[in-house]
């Protein structure tokens, strides 16, 4: 094999974060196209048992660093371990998930290695690049595809001359590859020397994460509320979601206002969802929200402002007060359901 794709694997509480597996699957597809290998970077403490699963899910090699000092993510020791392995193994591509960890770590690694990085990619591909100034041709480079300028355009970015080509990829866009226990691969264990500067400059005093209770990713129908909904609007949204057998979503504004918990948040800083039907109630359609739901099969928007940007991306738009529309719609659907 002529090249390597590295994928940084995130772990939390001793298990692999799902979005890392999604990216591993995407990396496998790219590697098959280019004839590259997929190699996972697994860092943590007491995590050796996770290496096999990464091979079953598509990795050819797992680079493992099992060290007490890597038990929880901290930027400096993680940067050291990854850059050291990268400098020795010379991968062509290094991909991270665009979580708060990946977005903290990715640029730091890129700066240390003196290479380029593209944030929040929504797709990746492999292809050729011809420098428009020199005519120089580069084969099998990473196409880093992401929305730009507020989502009005999609940009394809390349890093032709520097290695590794780095990208962070938004979680929730690719499916988790199936587990194939017949797959085999190598597990390479590394020992990394850390300096006091790297291990003592940042100390974790406390950390608290609530697991997501709302399963928006697999939901067929999502009824979502925004700034225009208010706590009372969310009561109606909940009722409609229940009636349709769907889940409740929310914009960042609604979460920040405290009307609903973070695990319902859809958008750039929340979850990316692709339901069959997405019903946006009182959501104006800020780009932060749209990037998280624009790939829904059908989008229905309810908003009293006829100029709200949400209507531009909606299949069906109902202009009006959601406090009048929702109760009537619920009533209508209820009577339809009785007749079913």
């Amino acid at each position: 094999m002529s090249g390597k794709i590295f994928v940084f694997i995130e772990t939390r509480e001793g298990s692999i974060v799902n979005s890392s597996l999604e990216v591993l699957g995407k990396a496998r597809a790219l590697a098959n196209k280019a004839g590259f290998s997929v190699e996972a970077l697994l860092l943590g403490y007491n995590i050796k048992h996770l290496a096999k699963e990464l091979i079953y899910r598509g990795a050819d090699v797992v680079h493992l660093v099992d060290d007490k000092r890597l038990e929880k993510y901290r930027v400096l020791p993680y940067t050291k371990a990854i850059t050291e392995i990268t400098q020795s193994e010379k991968p062509d591509i290094l991909i991270l998930v665009a979580t708060t960890t990946g977005r903290d770590l990715g640029p730091r690694i890129a700066a240390r290695l003196g290479t380029g990085i593209t944030a929040d990619c929504t797709d990746l591909d492999i292809g050729d690049y011809i420098d428009p100034n020199t005519g120089e041709k580069f084969r099998n480079v990473l196409y880093q595809i992401r929305p730009a300028f507020g989502g009005e355009v999609m940009a394809t970015i390349v890093t032709p001359r520097h290695r590794p080509q780095m990208a962070t990829v938004r979680p929730g866009l690719f499916s988790i590859p199936p587990k194939d226990e017949t797959r085999s691969g190598d597990i390479k264990e590394w020992t990394i020397e850390f300096t006091n500067f790297e291990t003592q400059n940042i100390e974790i005093l406390e950390s608290k994460r609530e697991p997501r209770k709302a399963d928006l990713k697999s939901a067929k129908i999502i009824v979502s509320g925004g700034r225009g909904a208010g706590p009372k609007g969310f009561k109606l949204i909940e009722e409609l979601a229940k009636l349709l057998g769907g889940e409740i979503g929310a914009s960042r504004a609604a979460v920040e206002a405290g009307w609903i918990s973070y695990d319902h948040q859809v958008g750039l800083t929340g979850q990316t969802v692709k339901p069959d039907i997405y019903i946006a109630c009182g959501i104006s359609g800020a780009i932060q929200h749209i990037v998280g739901m624009k790939d829904s099969r059908i989008i229905i928007a309810i908003n009293k402002d006829p100029n709200a940007p949400i209507f531009k991306i909606a299949d069906y738009g109902l202009v009006g007060d959601l406090f009048i529309i929702l109760p009537k719609l619920i009533e209508k659907l209820k009577s339809q359901k009785r007749r079913l």
Partner: protein
């Protein structure tokens, strides 16, 4: 506490984005504003200064006309403002930008904290903070909502998915600030007038002793291969009017016609 705040002028998010025929953004006609998240960083810096004393310097790498954004920072209360502006910086990606900014910070010299927004509202990369910290060899923490100074450390609350972390970080450090950290102050007319009279230092590439090979398009590892306008293939059937019953009826009828069922 000597604090440096990195401030980015961005196209006003409220102004409609105009694209040139080749698909790139028409930046000349778009009014500029201070990146929203950087405003929260300026506010955070001013609050630390008010509590612990010290000095706040705002720095921006931008074209000359972006000087107005630094005036805004001065009006909010920063002590000094520096504009890093040079034709040779045009085309810099996040790595080249971070290198240039870190060179400017080295020229300023004495600092305890560097603050900036968690990302910009135009690029949304969030790269510059961590990259500047790496060039300076200091620790960084992203998504910071709360800052407390404890001798030679800062204790920060960092937002993560579904929760937070409390981190103790050695000073000097770079922190990127969320928009939930504070409510940025609005300068009074008097502050704005006072800021007009303040001198803003302008530095060139020579002033910061930047390696010309590490800046501008040449010093940027990334290239744009193509930009495509997003074509939304949506039906955009809009139902409006004063009769809500009619809106709902025609909407449900249209759904039925299109073979879509809400109930299953």
């Amino acid at each position: 506490m000597n604090i440096i705040v990195l401030v980015k002028p961005v196209p006003d998010p409220k102004a409609p984005v105009r694209l040139k025929p080749d698909g790139t953004i028409d930046r000349e006609k778009v009014p500029l504003t201070m990146n929203l998240y950087d405003k929260h960083a300026v506010e955070a810096a001013l609050r630390i200064k008010e509590r612990y004393g010290g000095k706040v310097i705002a720095i921006s790498m931008a074209p000359p006309h972006a000087i107005e954004i630094l005036r805004e920072a001065l009006a909010m209360g920063v002590d000094d403002a520096i504009l890093l502006s040079d034709k040779r910086l045009v085309g810099s990606d996040t790595l080249a930008t971070s290198y240039a900014l870190s060179q400017a910070i080295l020229k300023i010299g004495n600092f305890d904290l560097i603050l900036c927004g968690m990302e910009s509202t135009d690029g949304n990369t969030g790269h510059v903070g961590p990259e500047v910290a790496e060039f300076l060899g200091i620790p960084h923490t992203t998504y910071v909502e709360r800052i407390e100074i404890k001798n030679e450390y800062v204790v920060v609350k960092r937002l993560v998915e579904g929760g937070y972390e409390l981190l103790k970080v050695k000073i000097p450090a770079l922190l990127t600030i969320t928009n939930t950290a504070n409510e940025p102050r609005i300068p009074t007319i008097r502050d704005v007038i006072k800021a007009r009279r303040k001198a803003i230092t302008v530095w060139s590439v020579n002033d910061i002793k930047a390696d010309p090979n590490k800046i501008g398009l040449f010093g940027s590892p990334t290239r744009i291969l193509k930009i495509e306008k997003v074509v939304l293939k949506r039906k955009s059937k809009i139902f409006s009017g004063s009769d809500v019953d009619k809106i709902i009826e025609s909407f449900l009828a249209e759904l039925k016609k299109d073979g879509i069922s809400l109930l299953r």
